[in-house]
Amino acid sequence: MTDRIRRAFQSIWPEFNHPDNKHLDPYFTFSDYRKIWVVGISVLVAAALVPLLVVTVIHYQLLQKSVDSELILRAERVASNARRAVTFFLEERLNALQFTVNEIDYDQLTDPEHLAEILRNLKLGFGGLTDLSVIAHTGTQAAYAGPFSLEGRDYSNQRWFIECQKRHFYVSEIFRGYRDVPHIIIAVKSFRRDGSFFILRATLDTDGLIQTLASYETGAHAEIFLINRSGIVQTSSKHHGEIFEKMSLPMPAYSLRTQVAMAEDNQVGRKEPLIVGYAYISTQIADTPFILMVIKHKAGMMQVWQQLRSNINWFVGFAILIILVVVILTCSYMVNMLYRADKSKAETMALMEQSNQLATIGQLAAGVAHEINNPLALINETAGYVKDLFVLKEQFHQDDELIGYIDDILDAVERCGTITRQLLGFARKFEVKIQKVKLNEVISDVLVFHNKEAGYRNIKVHVDVPEDMPPVETDRGKLQQILVNLVNNAFQAVDNGCILDIKASPAGADKVRICIGDNGCGMPEENLPKIFEPFFTTKEGNKGTGLGLAITYGLVKKLHGDITVISKVDEGTTFTVTLPTRIQEEISDNEGSTGR
């Protein structure tokens, strides 16, 4: 289980540069795989996510803009429709009063019955009128028709009277007045025949106006109400102030046209974006104190859009997650593959360098041997001639000491000659001739050379090759040489009366194994890694040149095989040669450079 978790973790966080691989570092093509991995992931993530995020942001902005302009357009439409309705409502009534004063003279108007008749007709025609009164230029009420008894009142100091006197028309704010009921006063000024003026005043109840406004309210998130020019709410509003209270929003700037703008609700405890549309209400004949307010709560209006936006958010989030997972897995996989390929290359190179050392030493040795042979030959002949002279001349003939010196020189030269010949053999160019070889035949051929010595030294040689052993396709001569060298080596290592074991057996489907073991003196463990190196010898005195096993090693490699050794001091040594049963291709020659 923990192994599975570890592997899963490795697939997203691969481990590079294991401490065990330190020795391979110089052979790696890239030094920092973690960096490649990080850069790869960053680049891929950036390439995949940046366009996605940019598109998402642009989409958001477009959506926002189109929603805003749509909302503003709608608010504008509602505001201008409502403005027309309110304007019409007031204008219609002002015109009716205007018509009345133009059509009926003062004397008739002050007739209470006639005035009541007119009020009745106006109520029938327009509705919303509560009472009607005629005020003389002194400010006293001359006639009244309506539910209240207000005759004889003096209005001369009231603002509406003064205003109307000045401007001929008047529309009041909504106020409670003497009756404590919200109402509006509208008044028109006219002149009597004697030149003095009088005013016809009507009181409007606000229900009609409120109904007109309410008919334009659309949905729960919009409200329409009136304020006056000092910001006092005139028709009640749900969120922005009760009637006759100060409106919670800032006063809109004066404008002749309908205006719509974005604003923010600044009341304590709520802070939400609003769309505020407004219009200063003004009839053709008179200015009014009203400002029409259309307030839309953006959040509510945008619920559908918010839903869409949250869907997009979920989708984008999910896409980012998928991209991250895919990028990390892919990157880890690719970089890991790269790392593994590079690592196996590094391992191969490290191994090659190791085995190349042997070949290089061999080539160098061959080169040295070439160059030494000629001077050696000259020493040989010169010393030989001196010896000849000594042997021939009576004077030195009896001098065994001098002859002995010369013989020492000649012996030394001969030994050098042997070494150079073997060195040349070690690096010699040779072709591999492949033929079918029966192992038992080769082994008995090799042993023929040693029969005499074995008998003489009482060494027992056991050969164990299975009868059904299939023939091996290899180079007979090289195999013979390998076996001769190893058997020679064993004979030199054992004492008289010891045992030599030669065994052959199949090793897997396409290899054979030949073991040559003795129970001789063995070798200390520290020598084992060096025994295949040229010039390494443990043989005493001048017996060995140190080339036998190096040559054997080279031959085994030429045959695409392997040679290993197991040895214990005083217990014996076993060499194991593993060879392929078939050598597929012609083995190339890499020795040409040392030719001449």
Partner: protein, 123 residues
């Protein structure tokens, strides 16, 4: 009159001369020359009992010299005596009829033994 008439072909003059001196002590008369062309000319002029031929000659490579000697006098045994012989040289020389292919330094008693053997074979 010495018993064996030999030709030594080697560009290492001191070696060739020294070998000639030693062989002259062993009942041999030696002609010495230091390049291939001289050797071929000498073979045209005289009959030799045996020729010792180096491979690395300054003018003509030993195998070519051997080929020409064999054209002129097919029966004369030629021993190749070289410091730097490769297996390829050995095969080429044996193919062209060299008697033996030896690496320097020479073991003089071996040469004497070979001379004796050739002497026994030829009437």
């Amino acid at each position: 009159m010495k018993r064996y008439n030999l030709l030594i072909v080697d560009d290492e003059q001191r070696f060739a001369n020294m070998l000639a001196k030693r062989l002259s002590l062993r009942d041999c008369h030696c002609d010495v020359c230091y390049n291939g062309q001289q050797a071929i000319d000498l073979v045209r002029q005289k009959n030799f009992f045996l020729i010792l031929l180096d491979l690395h000659l300054p003018d003509i490579y030993g195998t070519e010299v051997l080929k020409q000697i064999k054209v002129i006098s097919a029966m004369t045994p030629v021993i190749i005596l070289t410091g730097h012989g490769t297996a390829e040289d050995r095969r080429a020389c044996i193919q062209q009829g060299a008697y033996a292919f030896w690496h320097k330094p020479l073991v003089i008693d071996e040469l004497i033994a070979v001379l004796a053997r050739i002497g026994e074979m030829s009437p």
